[in-house]
């Protein structure tokens, strides 16, 4: 009895997880193999790989996959790198440090859609305005670009820019506290031994804050793979037509498209996304074991 007492305490949480997480996950997994499942009639035609075959050959899915992967590959390293640089510089200044910390943290507490509005002002061309960025480009003698409905690279640039900007506050916060927790005694020891600042950063600071960095990289990957609302905030709800859909967006569209939607296709796409995120996270954890120092 004593052995199972612990589980008794966990029971409420486990029951909650089972109902709202594990059951749906299994359900989605089953749907993804049921061909043409209809939630209205609770019926399907057959069982097999058909849904996966369809989704993988759907150009919208391929587009969403490319968009998502690009977003992940570009924004995770850049946002982590910039955050590290800013956090490091924040520890170096003494005057106005808390002011700057507050400023850098503001985007975190600002509503996504409100930020989307600001980006509209910056990038969207309207009959009345070229958008602030285009005005700047014109001043510098460049050609205005339609960032919202124009070429793919321009739209991708805006999406990446937005994503980096919105995730940085949290990363700066985590890294600032990680840097502050490094015992200054290590720096004093390194200084007495004549270590250059760059070497101190690379050989001492970075390894000592590596757990925080890897935490941010892993959650950053997962977060970027799940991106959806940012694209909606910038490009509206018809993302497929705009060519800017993400994988979560594709799943969402599949659920509600053409009235009844296609739960089977949506499930297959969701399982594919799950598999990708799982693989990347496992790889991340394996790599991090080698380079991360936990005290």
């Amino acid at each position: 009895m004593k052995k199972y007492k612990g589980f008794l305490y966990l029971l409420p949480a486990l029951a909650f997880l089972a109902v709202f997480l594990i059951y749906p996950l299994i359900d989605v997994f089953i749907y993804s193999f049921e061909e043409g499942y209809s939630s209205a009639s609770q019926s399907y035609f057959g069982i097999g790989w058909y849904n996966y075959d369809y989704v993988l050959h759907d150009p919208y899915f391929t587009q969403a996959l490319v968009n998502t992967v690009l977003l992940v590959v570009i924004t995770v390293p850049l946002s982590t790198g910039f955050s590290l640089a800013i956090a490091f510089l924040l520890t170096r200044i003494e005057k106005l440090r808390s002011l700057f910390q507050t400023i850098y943290f503001l985007p975190y507490v600002t509503n996504t859609l409100a930020v989307g509005m600001v980006f509209m002002v910056l990038f969207k061309q309207t009959p009345y305005s070229e958008g602030v960025v285009n005005t700047l480009i014109s001043w510098c003698g460049g050609e205005p670009v339609d960032f919202i409905e124009g070429p793919y690279w321009a739209k991708m640039f805006v999406l990446c820019f937005y994503t980096i900007w919105i995730v940085m506050p949290f990363k700066i916060l985590i890294l600032t506290s990680a840097l502050a927790s490094v015992n200054p005694m290590y720096y004093a020891a390194a200084k007495v031994d004549g270590t250059s600042s760059w070497r101190i950063f690379r050989k001492i600071t970075l390894p000592l804050i590596s757990p925080s960095v890897f935490y941010l990289v892993i959650t950053g990957f997962i977060g970027a793979f799940k991106a959806y609302s940012d694209a909606v905030a910038l490009f509206g709800t018809n993302l497929n037509a705009n060519g800017m859909n993400t994988m979560v967006g594709y799943v969402f569209d599949m659920l509600y498209r053409d009235g009844g939607g296609y739960p089977s296709y949506a499930s297959a796409a969701a399982i594919l996304l799950f598999a990708i995120v799982l693989t990347i996270t496992v790889i991340n954890l394996m790599v991090s074991k080698k380079y991360t120092h936990y005290s």
Binding site: N183, M185, Y186, A188, A189, A190, K191, V192, D193, G194, T195, S196, R199, K203, I204, P207, L208, S210, H293, S295
Partner: protein, 393 residues
């Protein structure tokens, strides 16, 4: 190489309400030359400026004024890396993510230009340093897997591997348990003597400072109180602070006076005084300065005795004592002579020091026993120490 400190002063800008806009002077006009190849202990209570002094020698802190010389060379404005100092920090500051070998090797990898070492040379130097501190078995471990004493040795090896001209140790033993502390301080002494490197260490523990230093610098509130050999600091304190700071159990302080060539504690004349005018004085008597004597000159009220086997302590009270109880340490042979109620003592003159009551400045006169008829241990009575009148110690 000798280290010269010339009117070294460090003040920190006022910070917080307490200081009321006044700068905090951590080290005040410290002038001293640390002789070549000696082990010098900076001793004092916390906040006395000893660590600040060490950090100025290392270059981690810039002095507010004054100069620091290594040999004849002025290093005051040199950054730490150009001074050639090795430093061991209180918590060792071993890089936790590196192995012992990488830790010791780290300073060597910083060398550039003509000092740059090849891989084999570095390996050789690391091994030499590890062998010196006897940790050559532990090179592959991480600091977290080592005991406190082993970490301490790694820290010393890392400080010594680049063959510094000066070795600085900040509270090197304070994180070790009592047994390891004894062992490690011997080890530090051995390493210092084997390498002959000028070494300065900081401690608040008098035992530590007394046991291994060639010279002790006693500091208080940024000011140097006394610089002498360990025994001299104990036997001939420069002022009341030094007398009270050194010695376990601490010295017993009394209020007394000099009158008619005698030293008085309350109604008791205890010693004869020569060379000092009549005045009020503070009297310090080391615990071992008491001689239990039937009808002794100092009349104390007995509280109780403590027996430790080798010796005994008598705790007694005297109205003139500055502390609630007077502790005297006697040989256990005296045990049969202890009586209830009364504890009468004669005093050993060279264990008694006189100070100015307010400033605590040492008053140097000649103390002698009053007479020899009542004492129980006659060999002590003949002992008469002539203290020289010494100015500017």
């Amino acid at each position: 190489m000798k280290i010269g400190l010339d009117h070294l002063t460090k003040s920190f800008p006022a910070n917080g309400r307490k200081s009321k806009g006044k700068d905090v002077i951590a080290v005040d006009d410290f002038t001293f030359t640390i002789p070549d190849g000696k082990l010098v202990g900076l001793l004092g209570p916390s906040g006395c400026g000893k660590s600040t002094t060490l950090n100025m020698i290392s270059g981690l802190l810039k002095p507010t004024s004054g100069k620091i010389y290594f040999g004849e060379h002025d290093v005051t404005d040199l950054p730490p890396e150009e001074r050639g100092v090795g430093m061991v920090f209180q918590n060792y500051a071993l890089y936790p993510h590196m192995t012992v070998e990488q830790n010791i090797r780290f300073p060597l990898e910083n060398l550039k230009g003509k000092d740059k070492l090849s891989d084999e040379e570095m390996k050789k130097r690391v091994e030499e340093a590890a062998r010196l501190v006897k940790i050559d078995e532990l090179l592959d471990r991480k600091p977290g897997e080592l005991s406190g004493g082993q970490q301490q040795r790694v820290a010393i090896a890392r400080a010594l591997v680049k063959l510094p001209r000066v070795l600085l140790l900040d509270e090197p033993l304070s994180n070790l348990d009592a047994r390891l502390r004894l062992q490690t301080r011997e080890e530090i002494r051995r390493i210092q003597q084997e390498t002959g490197i000028t070494t300065v260490f900081v401690t608040h523990d008098q035992d530590e400072a007394m046991s291994i230093s060639d010279l002790i610098v006693v500091m208080k509130e940024g000011k140097v109180q006394q610089i002498d050999s360990p025994q001299k600091v104990y036997d001939d304190p420069a002022n009341a602070f030094v007398a009270q700071f050194l010695g376990i159990p601490p010295i017993n302080m009394f209020d007394g006076r000099i009158q008619d060539g005698k030293l008085w504690i309350g109604p008791d004349a205890v010693l004869a005084v020569e060379g000092l005018p009549d005045q009020q004085v503070a009297i310090g008597i080391r615990p071992e300065g008491f001689i239990l004597a039937h009808d002794g000159h100092l009349k104390n009220k007995m509280v109780r005795t403590e027996v430790s086997g080798r010796d005994i302590s008598i705790l007694s009270t005297n109205p003139a004592s500055r502390s609630p109880q007077v502790r005297s340490i006697l040989s256990s042979d005296d045990l049969p002579f202890i009586k209830e109620g009364q504890a009468d003592f004669d005093l050993k003159p060279r264990k008694v020091f006189l100070f100015e009551p307010e400033s605590g400045k040492r008053l140097r006169g000649t103390l002698k026993p009053l007479d020899q008829t009542h004492t129980s241990s006659p060999e002590e009575v003949i002992e008469v120490e002539l203290l020289e009148q010494a100015e500017n110690r």
